[in-house]
């Protein structure tokens, strides 16, 4: 088992790098998209709301593997796709994997965010509106910090889920942790040790991510929230009292 690590440590490190890269990029893009999607659903913006609902319905109803294969293998059935600039990004497996991962995390987290938004106490939002905040200001200063702090324990699960999801991209030739280990597996015939190393790496990553999120939840986010809220919050509280 140790000989596998010592002989392939650079490949393994590359694999960890790829997994983390996929994870972080899709998390960030997914976060921005799902905050937007949740806002679209919350404010019931016509047409866009239906589009978001359809998107979520399709992504949540189909397995990740189907989406991944559809994005990676699908486009090249069409000749116009192969011969135009549109097809160029789809030739990269990393791009396809990122697309599939972003779609997935967006669909799941946007429903999560929307659910949290609906359950927020409406008093503060109403107070914000009464104070003359626009919908946009209301969303950024009052709703967003509130629900973000609430959602974090659940969002943590979503991050771990996404980490586990990234292991599936090894099926479209990407050499992430699982991909590297499957490659080593076929080269050395040391099936179980290579798999075990992959498992340990994923476990360590999951534990580390968990710890990072916990740290954020306990320290940083409360500060951010308080800083954002203190201003508007006090005024709105005053407003509610009198």
């Amino acid at each position: 088992m140790f000989s596998i690590i010592t002989q392939n440590y650079s490949a393994i490190l590359d694999g960890i790098g790829t997994t983390l890269f996929l994870l972080i990029i899709s998390l960030l893009a997914g976060l921005i998209l799902s905050v937007t999607f949740a806002a679209i659903k919350y404010y019931r913006i016509p047409v866009l709301k239906q589009a978001v609902d359809t998107f979520v319905f399709f992504i949540r109803g189909t397995p990740f593997l189907v989406q991944l294969f559809l994005i990676y293998y699908g486009p090249f059935q069409f000749h116009w796709m192969t011969h135009s600039w549109l097809g160029i990004p789809f030739k990269s497996a990393t791009f396809c994997a990122l697309l599939a991962l972003i779609f997935n995390t967006t669909a799941y987290t946007s429903s999560l965010f929307y659910g949290a938004m609906r359950n927020l106490p409406q008093d503060e939002v109403t107070a914000g509106t009464a104070l003359g905040l626009s919908n946009w200001q209301n969303y950024v200063y009052i709703i967003l910090p509130r629900y973000f702090v609430r959602i974090l324990p659940v969002y943590k699960n979503e991050v771990i889920m996404l980490l586990k999801c990234t292991s599936l991209v090894s099926t479209i030739t990407i050499l992430d942790v699982m991909g590297v280990m499957r490659q080593i597996m076929t080269q050395t015939y040391q099936t179980i040790p290579s798999l075990l190393i992959a498992g340990i790496i994923y476990l360590v990553l999951a534990v580390a991510l968990n710890a990072v999120m916990k740290f954020f939840y306990s320290k940083k986010l409360h500060k951010v929230k308080n800083a954002l809220l203190s201003h508007v919050h006090q005024i709105s509280l005053l407003f509610l009292h009198y």
Partner: protein, 215 residues
């Protein structure tokens, strides 16, 4: 094309079969794991660690581990190479994964049962098996239903990864058809549509069941 439809119909049956069997295995195992709540401390710690382990590992890892590990184990016992059935392996893996998540839901549901019910049952002189079967279990399932429904949808979708070890499920048949005809878009879209149909139907039926059993 005609044989594809026959194949995909059969594959849909396989997907449903493996999901339903895993559901049964997972529910039983999940209940057992949930019993850790009322067992001695060392058992509770071990079971919690097990659940954390399964929840932290990718399904594909558990699948490969089970498939290759069991093959090696069987080889050692039998003395020659044994071809492990991917269906059996899939049921084991999906069942284990399902049980890890289901146990958390069961534990939450167990805590949601009002203590007065148990006290009343005890005061009425019911014995322990009766209390479990007719007081706790019905309430447990009602509280757990929403969470279990979600898990069932996850399970249905996760069953597609068993195609990676050669089970002829929807995903596998679509993959074969796609590589034979060079029309991947059509076939994967078709596979996606079937999964969508299955999840939609089970979501619909689940909602009905939920309203029927609502407390």
């Amino acid at each position: 094309m005609h044989s594809f439809y026959a194949n995909i119909l059969f594959a849909t049956k396989t997907t449903l079969g493996i999901s339903l069997l895993s559901l049964c295995v997972g529910l039983l195992l999940g209940l057992l794991l949930a019993l850790s709540e009322i067992s001695p401390a060392w058992l509770k710690t071990t079971m919690n660690a097990w659940v954390m382990l399964i929840r932290g590992l990718p399904e594909i890892f558990i699948l490969f581990m089970c498939y290759y590990g069991l093959t090696l184990l069987l080889k050692k016992f039998a003395g020659h190479y044994v071809d492990l059935n991917p269906f059996v392996c899939g049921v084991i893996v999906l069942g284990i994964v399902f049980s890890a998540y289901a146990s958390q839901i069961f534990i939450a549901a167990l805590h949601a049962i009002p203590q007065e019910d148990l006290l009343a049952a005890q005061a009425l002189g019911l014995n322990k098996p009766t209390i479990w079967l007719s007081i706790i279990m019905p309430q447990l399932f009602r509280h757990a239903l929403t969470g279990l429904l979600n898990l069932w949808l996850v399970l249905l979708k996760d069953s597609s990864i068993v195609s990676l070890i050669g089970l002829h499920d929807i995903m596998n048949v679509a993959h074969v058809a796609a590589s034979e005809t060079f029309k991947p878009f059509n076939f994967y879209l078709f596979a996606g549509a079937i999964y969508l149909f299955l999840t939609f139907i089970s979501g619909f039926l689940g909602k009905k069941l939920e309203t029927k059993l609502a407390l």
